[in-house]
């Protein structure tokens, strides 16, 4: 299925989460898979992978503060990192 990460299309298998979709875009572009900006501006990515740490928060379909590791990727989803 295809979704959009920061305007870039990415395909992931069914059952993948949004975190995986973000990482795939980044890895393909040889870039940092950064998810959110910390209070003092540093970039962060997932730590716990299981919904505890909230480091993977992104904007999903205009809803802020969604944990990318807890949300399954769905076709047509629009995700914004470093929002």
């Amino acid at each position: 299925m295809q979704l959009e990460i920061d305007g870039l299309p990415v395909s992931v298998p069914a059952g993948a989460n949004v975190a995986a979709a973000i990482a795939r875009v980044a890895v393909d572009a040889h870039a940092t898979p950064a998810f959110r900006r910390a209070v003092h501006g540093g970039e962060r990515g997932p730590l716990c992978g299981m919904g505890v740490c909230f480091e993977c928060r992104v904007r999903i379909d205009s809803r802020d503060h969604q944990r990318a590791c807890m949300v399954l990727a769905r076709a047509g989803m629009r995700v914004q990192t470093l929002a």
Binding site: T32, G42, E43, L47, G49, M50, H65
Partner: protein, 431 residues
């Protein structure tokens, strides 16, 4: 009207699945809740490419056939007989006669310089991410921390095409060897361990070693390893590091269940039938103290049966449960943490990742509450779970008290439902 269950089970890992199945076998109406959209918990999390082990497949099928599955539901508030859940489609209340708390555990992270760089994850954390599609093929990964979990994580990463650069185990080699020999007492486990080790042929397993720092421009590019033979720099794209597990006691604590201490972290106290100090609330598995999946399965059954009043059947499982717990105690002894790990963070190292609070900012504050008020440490979205566990391990502060909401909630969750009967709620963590 909220849904009503005779037995409501929180957490769909090995303990929760077993509890749900046991309770349903006594003709109870059973609900099974988990924050994840699929049951299995962490150890039986569905792998997109490789599925789940056969034993897990059977347990998953059996439980979801007989219990009402409430997936993707985060418990955000609780009171006697009722839970408030947040799901993607809004809030919901569920009522229960008996509650089984099988909320499992999370990973323990100890702060070190560079641990906030993207690319640094937990060990179990990276395993969870990879199972749900996180790409590691061809990428160099250092697996570090402690415990048999590291071998399982490394083997799993390899199956997904990662290049595991090294496994960095903090326990000294002599202790790891002694633990390995002790497995002879449990041949099935020994075979499993041997198989794992063989699947990792060619991967360096460094004992008595730990990650002293992670370096990189905007992401992890190398890690500095302290070994008994000196320091070592390893290049990698991912560092997966975890120092064991911490029970998720927050729901039990919010409901007033008495907690005990295991080392520096809280566990839920129960009697032999897994009754907590609060009537009609039971606890099973890791939430009672880290015991592993085998103990969790047995305890799930005990709690599920006891919750139906079949105490005789529950008691008959006591011997098997104690055996499984004894094995876990051996693991804990074998992989007890080196106290040098508590001194890795420097003054500038971020301790509270949500609020960017460095260790030095906590100087002079005698307890977590004073530190929180002055520095915001523990006030962010994770509600002090990450920094609170770490600071407790470091011997700085006690773990924070659970509060409502248990997780940051959408405002709609609080306003869409009649909240008169709920305790005071705050949304400060939603920032």
């Amino acid at each position: 009207m909220p849904e009503h269950y005779d037995v409501l089970v929180c957490g769909a890992g090995p303990a929760g699945l077993a509890a749900a199945r046991a309770a349903a076998s006594r003709r109870m109406r059973v609900g099974l809740i988990d924050a994840h959209s699929r049951p299995g918990g962490q150890v039986w999390r569905h792998d997109l490419r490789f599925g789940v082990p056969r034993a897990a497949r059977r347990a998953l099928a059996a439980a979801t056939r007989v219990a009402h599955w409430l997936g993707g539901a985060q418990v955000v508030a609780a009171e006697p007989g009722e839970l408030l859940l947040e799901r993607a489609d809004g809030a919901a209340r569920v009522r229960y006669q008996r509650l089984v708390i099988a909320t499992g555990a999370r990973e323990l992270f100890l702060p070190f310089p560079g641990w906030t760089l993207p690319g640094v994850t937990g060990a179990g954390g990276l395993q969870a991410l990879v199972k749900q599609g996180w790409p590691v093929a061809g990428r160099r990964v250092v697996v570090a921390g402690t415990g048999p979990l590291l071998l399982a994580v490394a083997a799993g990463l390899r199956k997904h095409g990662a290049r595991v650069v090294a496994i960095v185990e903090q326990a000294p080699a002599a202790r790891v060897r002694a633990f390995a020999w002790s497995l002879a007492a449990t041949p099935a486990t020994a075979v499993q361990a041997l198989r794992l080790r063989l699947s990792l042929a060619g991967v360096a397993y460094r004992c008595g070693a730990f990650v002293a720092a992670a370096h990189g421009e905007g992401r992890v590019q190398s890690v500095l390893i302290s070994t008994p033979h000196g320091r070592l720099q390893l290049e990698c794209e991912q560092l997966a590091v975890g120092y064991g597990l911490v029970p998720n006691v927050e729901l039990a604590q919010l409901l007033g269940c008495r907690l005990d201490r295991s080392g520096r972290h809280a566990v839920v106290a129960t009697d032999a039938r897994l009754r907590t100090s609060v009537a009609d609330i039971y606890a099973a598995g890791e939430v009672r103290g880290i015991g592993g999946a085998a103990a969790a399965r047995i305890e799930g059954r005990i709690a599920g049966l006891a919750a139906c009043g079949d105490e005789a059947a529950a008691v008959r499982l006591g011997a098997a449960q104690r055996r499984a717990r004894r094995f876990a105690a051996r693991v804990a002894r074998g992989f007890a943490l080196d106290t040098r790990l508590y001194a890795l963070a420097g003054p500038e190292t971020i301790v509270c990742r949500c609020e960017d609070v460095p260790l030095a900012a906590l100087a002079g504050f005698g307890d977590a509450r004073a530190a929180k008020l002055a520095t915001r440490c523990g006030m962010g979205a994770c509600q002090g779970r990450i920094c609170g566990d770490a600071l407790a391990a470091l011997g700085r502060y006690a773990q924070p008290q659970a509060a409502t909401p248990l997780f940051p909630v959408q405002l709609a969750t609080l306003s869409d439902t009649s909240t008169d009967s709920l305790p005071n709620t705050s949304t400060e963590a939603l920032r």
